[in-house]
Amino acid sequence: MKLTVDGQTHEIDVEPNMPLLWALRDEIGLTDPKFGCGMAQCGACTVHIDGNAVKSCVMPVSAVQGEVTTIQGLGDADALHAVQQAWLDHQVAQCGYCQAGQMMAAASFLAKNNNPSEEEIDAAMQSNLCRCGTYPRIRQAVKSAASAMREA
């Protein structure tokens, strides 16, 4: 089975029902998408498939049609995505474990709506859990990123 992740094609030999998350983590070795719950309750595993945010812990690898992007494919320290820049500017993270997933959710959402209301931000981010309670900063960062994306 072929999987294209962050522009690279990987040949993997796994069960069709293995969740994408575990193919990424334990087969390909990409550990930025995190395991949190295994049932789409926390969003720590969020990646993009053709730009849409999906919970990779419940996405069977055989159902993946399109290119997978992890946070590594979104941007890096030398070329930050607007969302990463906003997360950095607001120092959102505490433990940081959920934040790759939070940023992937925000990036996908803002690509479709770069001028969201507070209610729209909450609605878009509500399936991503943060146990440290960084929500006030997540809200600020999403707003900043939206503003940067409007100006870009």
């Binding site: 995190k34 395991f35 949190g36 295994g38 320290a77 120092q91 993270a93 790759a100 146990r131 960084t134």
Partner: protein, 746 residues
């Protein structure tokens, strides 16, 4: 080791026994410094002036031994060192270091001694000194109790100042220029003519000097870093999403393990049948454990799938099967024979309450789970003689001890590598997963094994926050609170937790009454009694520990009395304030929240103020009614930690603590049915999601005499401030958490 063990067994007798004169150490033992662990494997070109600073020609490494569980411990330790070392944060590397008695916690003793933070009596001071001496002799390296900052604040600055002055000595020796004509900046010694000599260049020579001791610390007006906004050292990794945690560890030949052990906490397994699991794809081995079984596979998901196919026959729990039985044990604990301690007895509460029909109320706090987002995990490798362990943990030496016990080797043969943790909230003080990994490693030697808990396994084996109740009686007169008699009965999380590590806590557990007995008010007639609930499910420290329930009990009752007295909730608290620090915290939160201003229809506010871990924290919660649902709009928080080291992280920790306190008070409990936790994943125990999160406005004060940590103190006032706001909004008094059993939130 034998001697250390003996002392360990006695260590926690301190609550009362040591204070009464039972345990003493020779002056030599107490004054003797621990050896510098960095000295063991220094190269000729490297210098280490103390256990926290290592400089070679290649760079500067600062050791940050307090575990980073998301609270920013790594950054704050590095910042304190960098301040006096005269280096910038981008000029250093950090390392968690190797576990060592040299990293003993100098601040835990103050909190552990059962005296009020305001008590400066000879007895209280002696008890704190005794606890501190004991922790030093034991060499206890531990992260918890909001102690990282108080432990580090002077110690790390002194260590760095010593290193800096020793580097200057080396420069003076090389150049012949007098030391007091040299200065330092940017990791360099600067000569009078402006010539710069880098620390890395001077390191090898500096190593030959005895480190300079007793260097005066800089005055606050000279600080470059302390109190200023800085960028946390882990912010780039965490903002790019590239941060790696223990669960992400990669090693050549790594195999993946999953376990299932008896979900009836602490109970054994009768038998298991793994026939169908054995033949599943990727399964390498089934390993029987002392109360369950493990699957080792070539992929974590395959290990999860296979372990779910094992059929188990579990033994019964030694606590009640269902919640009715747990609550019965709590309710039956309010009796003389179960009295843990009479903590406060001032004035004459009995007489004051005898001549009147007192105001009475009782409150309930449920079990609650920790469940940090990174599930428990540990990687281990054992070659038959020595072991290596990688995991995020708050008590490194105990990890070594527990692994050594299982493997039958000495703790010194266990190398421990602490990892960045995806949260803890008290969860990474436990050892069950570590012991299980060691049992697997014993069977599967010379292979690195990563054990990961499924979320369901993690929930099933979370030792939750103490269950408990309070019964209170009070009296008001002339618009004021006159008397309070409060009894608190909770499980002793300290005893439960220490028991799992083979230690005993003799004497009373101050966590049972935390937040209550140290209430920040002077009450004319006050009695506080604590009762230990026995026979319930095992429990452990949950962010803010006893005060997480105690703060709810006492601040709800105070509020009830104030309303009965028809007084203003803020004004009466200010009138009762026990110290000027408390008074200023209350006044500040009143000002910040514009207390007393008109709010309009269907809006209200409530207040609470709790002292925990030596920090007074007050919160005003604003709520509104939307249809028949309550929405939390805003929370104003004021806390006094004496000195704010990093204002960015201070605000973040306070906001996080409020969210933690509110979310669990609103939405969460762990309940047992047939001896097993009914909540198995986040859909049943969420905490809080973004749409329920209020705006949180934070202000820090620096009036307190001692520098304190902020990880836990924002938690306890959140629940009562919310309950008090809801009462002001609807007239409904919430006396049991979680509140969503009684009302609906937006």
């Amino acid at each position: 080791m034998g001697k250390l063990k003996t002392i360990t067994r006695r260590a926690f007798l301190v609550g009362t026994a040591a204070v009464a004169g039972g345990v003493t150490f020779g002056t030599y033992m107490v004054n003797k410094p621990h050896d510098n662990p960095l000295a063991d494997d220094l190269a000729d070109t490297e210098a280490s002036f103390n256990p926290w600073v290592k400089i070679s020609k290649d760079g500067i490494t600062l050791i940050t031994p307090h575990a980073d569980i998301g609270q920013g411990a790594k950054h704050v330790q590095a910042l304190l060192l960098a301040e006096e070392l005269d280096v910038n944060l981008d000029q250093i590397k950090t390392d968690f270091g190797t576990p060592s008695p040299a990293y003993w916690n100098t601040a835990m003793g103050n909190e552990g001694a059962p005296f009020l933070s305001t008590d400066e009596s000879i007895g209280a001071t002696a008890a704190r000194s005794m606890m501190t001496a004991l922790i030093k002799v034991l060499g206890m390296q531990i992260t918890g109790g909001s102690s990282t900052v108080p432990d580090s604040f002077d110690k790390l600055r002194q260590a760095a100042a010593s290193a800096r002055e020793t580097l200057k000595l080396a420069a003076a020796n090389r150049t012949g220029i007098e030391v007091d004509k040299l200065r330092t900046e940017n990791a360099q010694v600067i000569l009078p003519d402006g010539t710069a000599m880098s620390y890395t260049d001077l390191a090898a020579e500096a190593a030959s000097f005895e480190p300079v001791q007793n260097v005066n610390l800089r005055n606050p007006d000279q600080w470059r870093l302390i109190g200023k906004p800085t960028e946390r050292l882990d912010t780039i990794a965490k903002s790019t999403g590239r941060a790696q945690f223990g669960i992400d560890l990669k090693l050549p030949g790594l195999v993946y393990a999953a376990v299932k052990t008896n979900p009836r906490q602490g109970a054994p397994m009768n038998s298991f049948n793994a026939d169908s699991a054995k033949s599943m794809r990727g399964v390498k081995q089934i390993v029987p454990l002392s109360n369950g079984a493990a699957v080792v596979a070539d992929n974590t998901w395959r290990a999860f799938q296979a372990v779910n196919q094992i059929e188990f026959d579990w033994a019964e729990a030694d606590y009640p099967a269902n919640m009715d039985g747990h609550w019965e044990l709590v309710e039956s604990s309010f009796q003389e024979s179960r009295l843990d301690k009479l903590w406060r007895d001032e004035g004459d509460a009995v007489t004051a309450l005898a001549d009147t029909a007192p105001i009475t109320a009782s409150y309930k706090a449920p079990y609650v789970a920790h469940q940090p987002l990174e599930p428990l995990n540990v990687t281990i490798q054992f070659d038959g003689k020595t072991a290596e362990v990688w995991t995020g943990h708050q008590i490194p030496q105990m990890v070594q001890q527990q692994v050594a016990n299982v493997l039958g080797i000495e703790p010194t043969a266990v190398a421990f590598h602490n990892q960045m943790s995806g949260g803890s909230f008290g969860h990474r003080l436990e050892f069950e997963h570590i012991k299980q990994a060691a049992e697997i490693a014993l069977e599967l030697q010379n292979t690195p094994i990563k054990l990961t808990y499924s979320r369901e396994e993690d929930f099933a084996h979370d030792f939750p926050r103490q269950i408990g109740m309070a019964r209170a009686q009070g009296k008001v007169s002339n618009g004021h609170i006159e008397a309070i008699d409060i009894q608190v009965a909770t499980a002793s999380s300290s005893r439960s937790q220490m028991g799992r590590s083979g230690m005993a806590l003799a004497g009373p557990d101050s966590q049972i009454v935390a937040g209550v007995w140290n209430l920040p008010y002077n009450i004319e007639h006050l009695r506080v009694r604590g009762y230990a609930v026995e026979g319930v499910a095992p429990t452990s420290s949950w962010r803010s520990v006893g005060a997480s329930s105690g703060g709810f009990f006492i601040e709800s009752f105070i509020d009830e009395l104030i309303h009965a007295a028809e007084a203003d909730p803020l004004a009466e608290r200010i009138r009762l304030a026990n110290t000027s620090v408390t008074r200023q915290v209350l006044e500040a939160v009143g000002e910040l929240s514009n207390w007393g201003s008109e709010m309009g229809a269907n809006r209200a506010r409530g207040i609470a103020c709790v002292e925990s871990f030596g920090v007074t924290c007050a919160q005003v919660v604003e709520v509104s009614l939307q249809g028949d649902k309550v929405k939390i709009d805003r929370v104003y928080v004021v806390a006094d930690v004496g000195q704010i080291v990093d204002p960015v992280n201070f605000e973040n920790q306070v906001q996080g603590g409020v969210v933690w306190g509110l979310g669990h008070a609103m939405n969460c409990e762990i309940t047992y049915q047939d001896g097993m936790a009914q909540q198995s994943n986040f859909h049943m125990h969420t905490g809080i999601r973004i749409q329920q999160c209020p705006e949180i406005i934070v202000k820090g004060l620096e009036n307190a005499q001692q520098v304190k940590g902020i990880g836990e103190p924002p938690v306890p006032p959140a629940a009562p401030a919310l309950a008090n706001a809801i009462f002001a909004l609807t007239g409904q008094r919430l006396r049991e958490m979680p509140f969503n059993k009684s009302i609906s939130f937006v």
